[in-house]
């Protein structure tokens, strides 16, 4: 294995919203090709952290490095250049409602990257085909299912060639039968070496591809480690307890422990690259 190459590194992020300290000294590093999973109870600051990572929220304090260069949001131009390199997937898709699937993927290529229209169309079609929506490109968001919308939003982000992709509960707004199609795209991206940070409650799924779990609570990362460790049978980790609670809430009372355990045993043969970083 080659030496880990940090793509995105943040140190000491603080963020106050209203009069609440939502992020309290958060630091993390994600290396090229790694997948980091943010978990934690509602209101723990996962969305805020992800939005700080591409400056949709400006952190009150803290430093950010992208691909080895420290980023200081000094000018608008630099801010836009930075955001282009950090893709964002939202829980409720946020597709541009007045544009077709193709238009959604194309528009930033044209307006932001200054690509010629024909070239942008070509690229957008490629990206839509990659997420399995080549035949839906002329439909408007209101004509797509939730799963299809989320896949369009992934094509839209990927078309910008981001160095890292941030995903904020990409499947939470979906009907259960539509979750699979989105997870399949995420799994494909992980296997293709896409660097990702994802907030999710799909613990069993993410355990199969995550290099590290980050457990957040009250604005801090209170536990971090590889899924194998955190979800080992009999582990007393916060992650394990949280996982059990989620499964319990979703109705699988007795299944909870076994589910968590089985998700970790599925990992037994997976190389653990990211364990122990930061």
């Amino acid at each position: 294995m080659t030496t880990p190459q940090p793509i995105l590194r943040v140190e000491g992020i603080h963020k106050t919203l209203g009069d609440q300290l939502v992020l309290n000294d958060v630091s993390l590093t994600v290396n090229r090709g790694e997948v980091k999973i943010l978990i934690g109870p509602s209101g723990s600051g996962k969305s805020t952290l992800l939005q700080c990572l591409n400056f949709l929220h400006h952190p009150d304090q803290g430093r950010i490095w992208l691909d080895g260069r420290e980023f200081k949001a000094t000018s608008r131009r630099e801010l836009c250049a930075f955001r282009q390199q950090v893709g964002m997937i939202f829980q409720d898709f946020n597709l541009f409602d007045h544009l077709t699937a193709l238009g959604n993927v194309q528009i930033a290529l044209i307006k932001v990257k200054g690509m010629a229209k024909a070239k942008a169309t070509h690229r957008a079609k490629e990206e839509l085909a990659r997420v399995g929506l080549a035949d839906k490109m002329d439909l408007y968001p209101a004509q797509l299912s939730g799963g299809q919308k989320q896949r369009v939003s992934m094509a839209r982000a990927l078309a910008m060639d981001p160095k890292v992709l941030l995903l904020d509960e990409p499947t939470s707004a979906l009907d259960p039968e539509l979750i699979g199609e989105v997870l399949a795209v995420i799994r494909f991206l992980a296997s293709a070496g896409m660097t990702m940070i994802m907030a999710t409650h799909q613990i069993a799924f993410s355990a199969t591809m995550a290099h590290e779990f980050l457990f957040m609570e009250k604005g801090r990362i209170v536990e971090r480690g590889s899924p194998v460790h955190l979800l080992a049978p009999g582990a007393t980790s916060r992650t394990m307890a949280f996982c059990a609670k989620i499964n319990e809430l979703s109705g699988d009372l007795g299944m909870a422990e076994r589910r968590c355990a089985s998700s970790s045993s599925a990992l037994a043969d997976k190389p653990q690259g990211g364990h122990g970083t930061t």
Binding site: Q51, N54, L56, R76, C80, A81, R83, Q84, V86, G87, M88, F90, D92, N94, L95, F96, D97, H98, I107, A108, K111, V112, L139, Y140, P141, A142, Q143, S153, R156, A157, M160
Partner: protein, 237 residues
Amino acid sequence: MDFAKTIPVIWESLPFILGGITWTLSLVFGAMLLGLCLGIPLAVGQVYGTRTVRGCIGIYVWLFRGIPILVQLYLFYFGILAYLSQVPSLAGLGLDSAFLAALLVLGLTSAAYQSQIFRGSIQALPEGQLKAAQALGMTESQAVRSIILPQALRLSIPGWSNEYSILLKDSALAFAIGVMEIMSRTRTVAALTHEPLPFALVAGVLFYLLTHMGIRALKTLERKVRIPGYARQGSMS
């Protein structure tokens, strides 16, 4: 009142009265356009601007919504424009025109009202639209131009057709400074014939027809630009 006698008089004066339609429509379309061109930046400034910008726009809106059109017409025609046309370097520009005064008053007032229509539409859009655009690296102004406004303007069409019908009727006030639009002409004829009522009815019918046609046209526009897949909006007559 003897209708049999009035009908031929109305018939005779009709070409003269109908000639006012050109003036009325020029005023209304001109003012709508001026209101649109000013109203959009005002709305954008009021939503995304700094405190100072928002404050200034607030004062503008407050002034033009607060002062009656009739008062403004006098202020512009006999005041501001009359003064400006005395300035030597501006002489010859025809600034002392009643039509120009009416156009400015109606346009600037409409800008105040239209800005509030657009502001409402912009604020009705989900916050995520702007966030998604920014996350792709768009500047705020790119996002407003290619993401926010195309959606907000669509939402504004019903409010806009309301604004049209109000503006059309406000334009009748321009008779007060002598613009030869529909109202002015019907009053002239009514005064000559000493028959105010039938001519008031003629004016009423003309304004009604123009209102109706304009609203129909905007309804068609609304249908044309509707985003596919959205449930039909409840239709208003």
